[in-house]
Symmetry: C2
Subunit: 454 residues, 2 copies
């Protein structure tokens, strides 16, 4: 047994798990003890420096370290930094990155800048990066890594092991080896361990189980990628073209990034903020991203205002209605948002099934009904005691109950309907929900008041 | 070189990446072609069966397959199923699980049931599971895996490799080997590749870089665990006790689950739903979880109603105010929720820094001001045109602008304040935000109206 089974010197390694210290649970990142060993820590350190200091530090760092830190930087800081580095240093940094990271970084720059950097790279590297840049960043193709170990199915297990060993010079230890036929079509996936357990002379073809490997096509949405990986606990997922030819692999760290991004997108999308907003987003950009949805919200709430306007005369006769009216709408809105949040999460993490989705909507209706009954009774009792007007209390309780059930059903249905329409189930859903619960709440409460109280 | 470097027959393997078919992007999980090879698919299949069919199928499956499927089941279905299986089968299934999964499953059962199952397991297994059950499931200890390969630092690299090889009989290929001193204190982490590159006779102690390994203590919150792993792109993170002794490791698939859970918790928590709710949660349990926050919301909106009540007389004189009043509050609420969503995401994924957090609050204030100015001007123009009353339009625009800035500042501050208080930054934040934007909106609008319009 050779101790150097994987014994090739290597330029790239799996993340190393050492640092200067055990992580303090709530450490001060600005303190003098900040750990600059890890790219993420170096990136954070850079973010606290002035642009000039950033440029000086990056120019002084070894290219590989600089590349790792730049890959971890926030997009807006990275763009500014790369535009201010001299072109040779910037190209050197981009050239050290894995092709998928390089493509992501260059995608953020304007075309002149990215062309200038690409022209300084080796032709083959530049071409690979360009081809990755052609994929939609929201899809599997946009996040996949192309530095993988591909084995042809006719070779034997020991040839495969020899090939892996040779390729380790510039690749990580793979979790899986990807097996292709003569046309580069993915025919199977073997874990490193499967491969080790094979009889040395067995062709890989025979080592594969008689199943097609699970893969996604390059145009599969990132959300679906995250769902598949989360479902099967894969450490990496192969990406193929329409003919099944292997294009690349989505790896562990990409998956964590995708899941984190998507989780944020749901919450940000729900309220009409920009899907990739962070405190590092230039504030005017945030204004631009949020304004359209605020205008939609204003138009929606204008509709609700029209409902109130219909009952102008009622309010004139009984101004106290204006006191309770917002309570009905607010309560139904909150009920609906609870249903909304549960449904958006479910659609984000589970395989979509129409039957299950509509069952879930029914379930939310029941919950809304139960909570509506309880709160309705509370309101009936407390308002009767407080105002001495059982009729007002009854109208309020009835409007509240009805609007809460409606809110629950609407909150649960909106994401399902958006999904069925092929849209993002979260986008602006909270805004539309509020329009419904406000409009209906005002109409029910003022309508019932007009009928029974005047 | 031996082809059987890792050549031990094994009872547990990394997830295999084969299935019956390439995943259809929107496959029908209910169809007859459903893939039952993967535990996740088997679990989904089980969820569509009646309880009796579930019991029959699980009893017929090999224990290992049954265990893998049960580990993937939804909690509520799993509890019912395990309570209806005969105790021997149930204990057999639990015994086949990894200790951390077994502890999670037994935690869900009532004590009688879990004791009954534990009493049927080997004493050592039962004790390990019991000790894992003692950890808070929200902490690193509650999710860590104890089936890891631990190496003492005085042994040499080739001894280490021999030891790994021997332990592979019932463990996965490790990404990292954990190195401890004579007191079981974690002294370092070596990737499998580092180990392979070591000169055979070198003691592990000398192979370690002169840094303390990054680890978390058993009581570290899951959120912090997810943040550390996401930040450093680790594939696994060691968990230690207060003295630094190695207790276990949080592995790849746990991390994906944690990140998915936490992302959901933020969104669900924000609106006061149960943090682990899904459509599989019994609906009465959902009622119980959501009702307290709905009552808080009602009390909050009662405060806002009191503000309106203060201006009862104003509304009596000018009922049209009731038409526009909700628009102001709604618009400020939406503005605040956008800020809220951005801040909750940031606090969830970035290391907390007080300075950065309050800078972000300032940024949100600026965004609120800009959007408030734009919408204020829109309202001023359209309301003047529509109603011919510039004074009413002016009052509305002024109230809107002020409430939107307030909403933005409140939405951004609430999560930071909760975090500073050591609370979950998301919990019910949307409910408190709405109380502020409603109350302030009504007060500003009706107050200005009383001053300038009557």
């Amino acid at each position: 047994m050779s101790k150097n089974f994987f014994g090739m010197p290597s330029s790239e390694k799996p993340p190393e798990q050492t640092g200067t210290a055990k992580l303090p649970p709530d450490g001060n990142p600005d303190g003098p003890g900040a750990d600059l060993y890890h790219p993420a820590d170096m990136a954070e350190h850079l973010e606290h420096l002035s642009l000039k200091e950033q440029v000086d530090l990056l120019t002084a760092l070894p290219l590989e370290e600089a590349a790792e830190a730049v890959a971890e930087l926030d997009e807006h800081i990275r763009v500014e930094l790369l535009e201010n580095l001299d072109t040779d240093t910037a190209a050197g940094i981009v050239g050290e990155m894995s092709p998928d990271d390089a493509a992501d970084v260059l995608d953020e720059l304007d075309e002149d800048h990215s062309d200038a950097l690409l022209s300084k790279l080796h032709r083959a590297d530049a071409e690979e990066i360009r081809s990755l840049m052609a994929f939609d960043p929201e899809t599997a193709g946009g996040v996949m890594n192309t530095e993988i170990i591909i084995l042809e199915q006719h070779i034997s297990a020991d040839e495969a092991i020899r090939k892996i060993r040779a390729e380790l010079a510039d690749k990580e230890i793979p979790y899986y080896a990807y097996i292709v036929d003569g046309n580069d079509v993915l025919t199977g996936v073997l874990s490193l361990r499967d491969l080790m357990l094979c009889p040395p002379g067995m062709p890989l073809k025979d080592a594969l189980k008689d199943r097609e490997p699970i893969s996604v096509t390059f145009d599969t949405d990132r959300q679906e990628v995250a769902r598949v990986i989360g479902r099967y606990n894969f450490m990496a997922l192969p990406v193929v073209d329409r003919e099944g030819r292997l294009l690349g692999v989505i790896s562990h760290d990409d998956v964590i990034d995708i899941i984190n991004d998507l989780a944020g997108e749901d919450m940000l999308g729900m309220v009409g903020a920009g899907l990739d907003e962070s405190p590092e987003t230039p504030w005017l950009e945030s204004v631009k991203m949020r304004l359209p949805w605020l205008i939609v919200n204003m138009l929606n709430s204008a509709l609700a205002a029209c409902v109130v306007y219909l009952f102008d005369g009622t309010i004139e006769q009984m101004a106290v209605l204006a006191v309770f009216m917002p309570m009905v709408a607010n309560q139904a809105g909150n009920t609906g948002q609870q249903a909304l949040a549960v449904m958006i999460r479910t659609l984000a993490t589970d395989k979509f099934s129409r039957r299950k989705a509509w069952n879930a909507v029914r379930r939310e209706g029941k919950i809304g009904l139960a909570n509506g009954l309880i709160l309705g009774i509370l309101i009936l009792a407390s308002l009767s005691l407080l105002t001495g007007r059982t009729d007002l209390a009854g109208v309020m309780a009835a409007a509240l109950l009805t609007d809460m059930v409606l809110g629950a059903l609407a909150g649960a249905s909106i994401p399902v309907l958006l999904k069925e329409m092929g849209r993002d189930p979260a986008q602006a859903s909270s805004i539309f929900l509020t329009a419904i619960t406000d409009g209906a709440g005002f109409f029910l409460f003022l309508g019932l008041a007009t009928l029974f109280l005047l």
